[in-house]
C-alpha cells in the first residue's frame, strides 16, 4: 500500500520497552471511587443518584441533560463498581487548571456486582441509528485522549474510509500496543460493527507504527478472516497518531482544522474506542474502565492496567510498587502533550491514557527561556506547516488577529516546535494562551450580541406598551364621552317627554 508523509514531525526516543512487555493487569477495586460528572468534551452530566443510594456496577450515575443522549454532545457516566454513594461534591479532577469539579464518590462493597446488561443479539439486523443509541447509552468517548463522544463522530453520512488508529506515537505510552497484542479479535469485531454503522465503508484500514511488530502480527492474524480489513504498518514518527496526520500518511489528503475529516469521507477511531464499541454491542457493557500505562522511573514495575474509572492515581502507583528514590513529578498523558499534576489524589477518567511517574534522576532541569534567534527549526518540524515563530511573536504581543491570520487554530498542540527550540521557549504555552483568549473573546461577542438583541427588544416593548396604553385610554375616553352624550340625550328626551306629557295633561 502506498504511504505518504506529513511535513516535519520528530523521531523520538520511545521509552516504550519499560512497560510494553508485561501483560495487562486488572487493577484492584479501590475502597472509594471518585467519578467526575464531566469526563468528555461537551456538556456535563447531571447526577441521577443521591447520597446513601446503593448502586450496581454499570448503573448510570450521571445522565446527560436530555432524554436521549444519542442526540446530544454528551454521554452518561456509569458506576464502575457496586457500592454506596457516600458523597456528591466538588473534588480535584485531572485537568491542567488544577480546579475542582462535581464528582460522585462511591464506597465500594467488594462484590463488584453488575447491573443487568442487555447485549445486542445480532448487530447486523439493527439500523445505524439503533446502534448509535446503544453506543451513546454505553458512555463511549474517544479513548485516544481527546474524549470526543463516539456517537457524534460515528453519526456521519457517506463515509468511504474507516481508519482504526493504533499508531500510538507518543513516547512511554504502550496501552494500545498491549491491547492490540492481547485482544486483536475484539478490535477486528469492533471495526466490523463500526463499518456497519457507517453503512459499510469501502475501505477499513488499521494503522500501526512499525515499532510495534508484535501488535501488527497479532492483528494481521486476527484480520485474516476478513478480507476487507487492511492492517498497515506506518513509519514511526511523532505525531503520526494525530488524526489528520494519520489521514495524510494513509491517503495523502491534508485536512485543515476548519474542515472535518468526515466531510472528505474519512472517519478515524482509536483501537481502544473500537474495542469499547465491540463490548457495548456484544455484551451490553457500558464503558467503566480503560487501559492505562503506568510508567517511568518512579515506579518499580512499569506496566499496563485495566483500571476502573474513579480509581485514584496513588492506588495505581502503589500497585506498581514505588521506587525508593521517591516521586518527583507525575504527568498525565504523554511527555509531549500531557500535563503535570501537583499530587496523586486525582481519579483516573475516560481520557487518562498514561501516567508518567518520574523520580528526581529522570528529570532534566528545563533551562530558562532565551530570546528567539529566528533559526526556523520550529517551522521545519511543524506537522501542520505553520510558522511557529510568527505565531509566537504575535501571541506574545497579544495580537489575536495576527495569530489567527497565521492559522493558530490549525495547531494541534503536539509540542514538536517547543521540543526543538534551542532557546527553550515554551511555545505551546503561548499558543494555548492565545487560543483560549480568542475563544473567550468570541464567547463574549456572542453574549454581547444577545444582550444587544434583548435591549433592543426591551426598548421596542416599552414603546409598544406606551402606545397600547395611549390607545386604550383614548378608547376609554371616547367610550365615556359617548356614554355621557347618550345620557344627556336620554335626559333631554325624558324632559321633553315629561314636558309633552305635562302640556297634554294641562290640555286635558
Amino acid at each position: 500500500m502506498k504511504l505518504w508523509q506529513f511535513h516535519g514531525g520528530l523521531k523520538l526516543d520511545g521509552h516504550k520497552s519499560l512497560s510494553s512487555e508485561s501483560q495487562i493487569r486488572r487493577a484492584n477495586i479501590p475502597d472509594f471511587l471518585v467519578l467526575p460528572l464531566l469526563q468528555h468534551i461537551g456538556e456535563p452530566t447531571e447526577t441521577v443518584v443521591e447520597v446513601g443510594d446503593k448502586v450496581l456496577k454499570g448503573q448510570v450515575i450521571g445522565h446527560c441533560r436530555g432524554k436521549d443522549c444519542s442526540l446530544l454532545m454528551s454521554t452518561p457516566i456509569h458506576a464502575s463498581s457496586s457500592g454506596t454513594v457516600v458523597a456528591i461534591e466538588d473534588r480535584p479532577v485531572p485537568h491542567p487548571s488544577g480546579l475542582t469539579a462535581p464528582c460522585v464518590v462511591i464506597e465500594t462493597d467488594g462484590e463488584d456486582k453488575w447491573i443487568e446488561c442487555t447485549p445486542v443479539a445480532d448487530y447486523s439486523t439493527l439500523s445505524p441509528t439503533q446502534l448509535l443509541y446503544h453506543i451513546a447509552k454505553a458512555g463511549i468517548v474517544g479513548l485516544g485522549g481527546a474524549g470526543f463522544p463516539a456517537h457524534i463522530k460515528l453519526n456521519s453520512k457517506s463515509i468511504e474510509t474507516l481508519i482504526i488508529n493504533g499508531a500510538e506515537c507518543e513516547p512511554y505510552i504502550t496501552c494500545d500496543d498491549r491491547l492490540m497484542r492481547e485482544y486483536p479479535d475484539d478490535i477486528i469485531a469492533g471495526a466490523q460493527i463500526i463499518r456497519h454503522i457507517l453503512g459499510g465503508t469501502q475501505r477499513c484500514i488499521i494503522a500501526i507504527e512499525d515499532n510495534k511488530p508484535a501488535a501488527y502480527q497479532a492483528l494481521l492474524k486476527a484480520a485474516a478472516k476478513d478480507q476487507d480489513i487492511e492492517v498497515v504498518l506506518v513509519p514511526t514518527r511523532y505525531p503520526t497518531g494525530g488524526e489528520r496526520q494519520l489521514i495524510q500518511v494513509l491517503t495523502g489528503q491534508e485536512i485543515g482544522r476548519s474542515e472535518l475529516p468526515a466531510k472528505r469521507g474519512i472517519v478515524v477511531h482509536n483501537v481502544k474506542t473500537t474495542r469499547a464499541v465491540y463490548r457495548a454491542i456484544q455484551y451490553g457493557r457500558p464503558l467503566i474502565s480503560r487501559i492505562v500505562t503506568v510508567t517511568g522511573t518512579g515506579v518499580e514495575k512499569p506496566q499496563n492496567f485495566e483500571v476502573r474509572f474513579g480509581t485514584l492515581m496513588h492506588s495505581l502507583i502503589d500497585q506498581c510498587g514505588r521506587n525508593k528514590a521517591g516521586i518527583e513529578r507525575l504527568i498525565m498523558g504523554g511527555p509531549m502533550m500531557g500535563f503535570a499534576l501537583p499530587n496523586e489524589e486525582f481519579p483516573i477518567i475516560k481520557t487518562t491514557n498514561c501516567l508518567i511517574v518520574s523520580s528526581a534522576e529522570e528529570i532534566e532541569e528545563i533551562p530558562k527561556p532565551m530570546p528567539c534567534i529566528r533559526c526556523g527549526a520550529c517551522a521545519q518540524v511543524c506537522p501542520v506547516n505553520l510558522l511557529p515563530q510568527q505565531l509566537y511573536w504575535h501571541a506574545k504581543a497579544k495580537d489575536f488577529q495576527k495569530v489567527q491570520d497565521y492559522h493558530i487554530f490549525d495547531c494541534i498542540d503536539c509540542g514538536c516546535c517547543a521540543y526543538v527550540c534551542p532557546s527553550h521557549i515554551p511555545l505551546v504555552s503561548y499558543y494555548r494562551y492565545a487560543k483560549a483568549e480568542i475563544r473567550a473573546i468570541e464567547q463574549e461577542h456572542k453574549q454581547a450580541e444577545l444582550a444587544k438583541k434583548r435591549h433592543e427588544f426591551r426598548i421596542f416593548r416599552l414603546q409598544r406598551d406606551k402606545k397600547e396604553r395611549r390607545e386604550k385610554l383614548q378608547k376609554m375616553k371616547a367610550a365615556s364621552n359617548a356614554s355621557k352624550e347618550a345620557a344627556i340625550k336620554a335626559a333631554l328626551e325624558r324632559t321633553k317627554a315629561k314636558k309633552e306629557q305635562g302640556s297634554s295633561n294641562e290640555q286635558k
Binding site: V93, R432, Y433, A436, H455
Partner: protein
C-alpha cells in the same frame, strides 16, 4: 465659448449623476455608529453617562464623547475603539475596574415583589410580577448592576461567576 459650454454641460451631467446616486444609494442610519456599537460590550450599564451602549456609540461618532468611558469594555475595548476610529488611546477614566464578570442574584426570601428591579433591567433578565417573588435569569444577566440601587430592601447582590474547569483559560506564560 464652446469650452465653457462643454464644461458647464459636463458639470451639469455629473451633478445630476451624483444627485441621483445620493438618492438611489442612500445609507440608512450611520454605519460608523453600528461599527462602534459592535465593539461595545452591550451591558447597557450606563456607566459612561449615556443611557445604553448605542447612545454612547452615537456620542462617540458625533465627537461628543471620549473613547475611554466604558468600564466593562476595559482596556481591550478602549484599544479596539482607538484602532477603529484612528484616535489616540487614552487610559480609562475609572479607577476600579473589576475584571471578573458578575451576575445579579436576588435573595428570594427577602424580596417583596416591588418590580422596581424589573423596570431597571436593560435586558429584561429579571422574571417576576407585582407582589410575587423575582428571580434573575443568570445566562442573560450582563452584570450591569442597574438593578442593585433601586431595590428598597437591598436583596440584590452582585456575585462573581464561579471559576470552573469549563470557564478556565490557559494563562499567559511566564
Amino acid at each position: 465659448m464652446t469650452a465653457i459650454g462643454l464644461l458647464a454641460g459636463l458639470a451639469l451631467i455629473f451633478g445630476l449623476l451624483l444627485g441621483y446616486a445620493s438618492v438611489r444609494f442612500k445609507v440608512e442610519g450611520d454605519p460608523i455608529v453600528d461599527k462602534i456599537d459592535a465593539v461595545l460590550p452591550q451591558q447597557q450599564c450606563g456607566k459612561c453617562g449615556y443611557p445604553g451602549c448605542r447612545p454612547y456609540a452615537e456620542a462617540i461618532a458625533n465627537g461628543e464623547a471620549e473613547i475611554n468611558l466604558c468600564p466593562p469594555g476595559g482596556e481591550v475595548g478602549m484599544l479596539a475603539l482607538a484602532k477603529l476610529l484612528d484616535r489616540e488611546p487614552k487610559p480609562l477614566n475609572v479607577e476600579n475596574i473589576e475584571p471578573a464578570k458578575k451576575v445579579a442574584v436576588i435573595d428570594e426570601k427577602t424580596c417583596i415583589g416591588c418590580t422596581l428591579c424589573i423596570q431597571a433591567c436593560p435586558v429584561d433578565a429579571i422574571l417576576g410580577g407585582p407582589k410575587l417573588m423575582h428571580t434573575v435569569i443568570a445566562q442573560e444577566c450582563t452584570g450591569c448592576e442597574l438593578c442593585v440601587a433601586p431595590c428598597p430592601v437591598d436583596c440584590i447582590k452582585m456575585v462573581p461567576l464561579p471559576h470552573t474547569i469549563t470557564t478556565w483559560k490557559w494563562p499567559y506564560p511566564n
